[in-house]
Amino acid sequence: MSDVISRGRGPRNLRSAVGYTLLVLVALLFMSPLIFMVGTSLKAPSEIFATPPALFGATLEWGNYAEVFSYAPFARYLVNGVVVAVSGTVITLAVSALSGYAFARLRWRGRTATFTVFLATMMLPQEVIIVPAFVLMRELGWINTYQALIIPWAFTALGAFLLRQFFVTVPRELEDASRIDGLGEFGTFFRIMLPLARPTLAVLAVFTFITYWNSFLWPLVVVNDVSSLGTIPLGLQQFFGQQGTQWHLIMAASVISMLPSTILLIALQRYLVRGIVTSGLGGR
């Protein structure tokens, strides 16, 4: 039990060095499944269940990564994943920016009630409406289409909430100035407000992209033709084939599937932290 602001130099340094080492160890242990995944992805199939276990095989089989693309239409899954995630994100950003602005800065009848409904749906898990949403897709003739993967989840309330929280903080003077410049409502929104919201939009974009990218249950339900419409999570399943689970390929495919989110995370981590905090995106 150390004092928070204890001034003692020597023992404290020692203690913090020990603590730091411990932290590094914990982080390594935490990372071990991922390290193990990378290791396995580079092993020859025969070495995967070797005893004693080794992190890496005798040789590094980089060819496994190429085999992922020849064994299954993995390139297609990647393209589908990007198409779905990017278009879903674009729609989400567009409608959320508009509605967030309307909730924060415009006065209209039914605003509070509408916003309350929006907030309430944030508590609603996607899984609850999976069956009726599927029936709806069937009625619309959208089963096994891109729009079924993209559209239904582009209107979740999170974006409106996030952007409203931001727009509320914009000083009113800016609005008045734009008025004087003769900008209309749309002009004010588009020329003044939207550029200001860029960081928040970036946060929303990243989270929306990742959510689409990782989504599993919904594609599982609406995609019939996995070979041509499958996304990454569905594609990963493909390696548990009838013909023996291809662990080395699954691991290589998993590594590939993690790359986009990992890169986004590392590149934008400062924004993401801010986004999580201001929006209360926690609790996943």
Binding site: M37, T112, M123, I266
Partner: protein, 314 residues
């Protein structure tokens, strides 16, 4: 050991406190503009979220096969759920998961957030590391863990080679399967809350802590008496969100155990999926979905009612 939160209300801002006061500053024509701006989102939300909730309720009152025409059966689906041992097991498993997962997630994330104080060097790197699994596909995470867990897999093989201990077959042993899933889920999920708590702790003013230390409080008491009450809004929000999402657990058991061994890891969402898409009883699946919905609403309501007792806003 102060379990009772300190009463002091401080100036620290509550970063994640959801509030609903906003300026409706525009006058005049903005009524139409407001409706117009909100309309695309509101219509989409209505069509793809509200309408399905309604359809679900409607369907739950029908015998609704995948193929063929539905027939009205009133509350029979709900009655069937009550008497269905599989449903009760799924309900029990889901609660078990929630009861194990939520506290563990909160303790780990709060602990790591406290540990990763601003004094830690390369704090950002650690944050990224612990956050990483939350953004990678759960399917990929679950697949890796399945391989770790299986007999002859990394955990078992390591234990055998270095300690000569034979590990249980985690995912095939009814006593272990749920625990294995919880451990994997905490590993993959605590990063979000850690970030939330970490930022909340950062915003605790130094002056408060100095004052406490002058009063002779050590780090432990300072944490319990000063920091915890100050970050209680974040705790509240994180707890609520974690509760809501943990009731929806599906992918981890679906990939790692398929609900087995026996029915020891069948969760509510898997029950819904199985009934709806494997057994093609869409009505029964919708009824189960509504039960899940009501449970989540209830738990959230309890959370909100209970918050007065322990959450301190500015």
């Amino acid at each position: 050991m102060a379990n009772v939160p300190a009463r002091e209300v401080t100036e620290a801002s509550a970063p994640a406190a959801p509030k609903d006061h906003s300026g409706g500053r525009r006058r005049g024509r903005s009524g139409a503009w407001g409706v117009g701006f909100a309309a695309p989102h509101a219509l989409g939300l209505a069509l793809f979220t509200l309408v399905p909730i309604g359809i679900a309720l409607f369907m739950s009152l029908h015998n609704w096969p995948m193929i063929g025409s539905p027939s009205w059966i009133g509350l029979d689906n709900y009655q069937e759920l009550l008497t269905d041992p599989t449903f009760r097991t799924a309900l029990g498993n889901t609660f078990l998961f929630v009861v194990l997962y939520v506290p563990l997630n909160l303790v780990v994330s709060l602990g790591m957030a406290a540990w990763l104080s601003p004094r830690i060097r390369h704090r950002q790197i650690f944050r990224v590391i612990f956050f990483l699994p939350t953004v990678t596909p759960i399917v990929a995470n679950a697949v890796v863990w399945r391989m770790l867990y299986q007999p002859g897999g990394a955990i078992d093989a390591t234990a055998q080679s270095f300690f000569g201990i034979k590990m249980p077959d985690f995912l095939a042993d009814p006593n272990w399967a749920m625990i294995a899933i919880v451990v994997m889920s905490v590993w993959q999920g605590f990063g979000y809350n850690m970030i939330v708590f970490s930022s909340a702790l950062d915003s605790v003013p130094e002056s408060q802590l100095e004052a406490a230390s002058l009063d002779g409080a050590n780090a432990w008491t300072a944490f319990w008496r000063i920091k915890l009450p100050l970050i209680s809004p974040s705790l509240f929000f994180a707890t609520t969100m974690t509760l809501i999402t943990s009731f929806q657990v599906f992918i981890q058991p679906y990939i790692m155990t398929r609900g087995g061994p026996g029915d020891s890891t069948v969760t509510l969402v898997q029950f819904i999926y199985n009934q709806g898409f494997t057994f093609q009883k869409l009505g029964l699946a919708s009824a189960a979905a509504w039960v899940l919905f009501v449970i989540i609403l209830g738990v959230t309501a309890v959370q909100f009612l209970g918050q007065k007792k322990w959450v301190h806003y500015e």
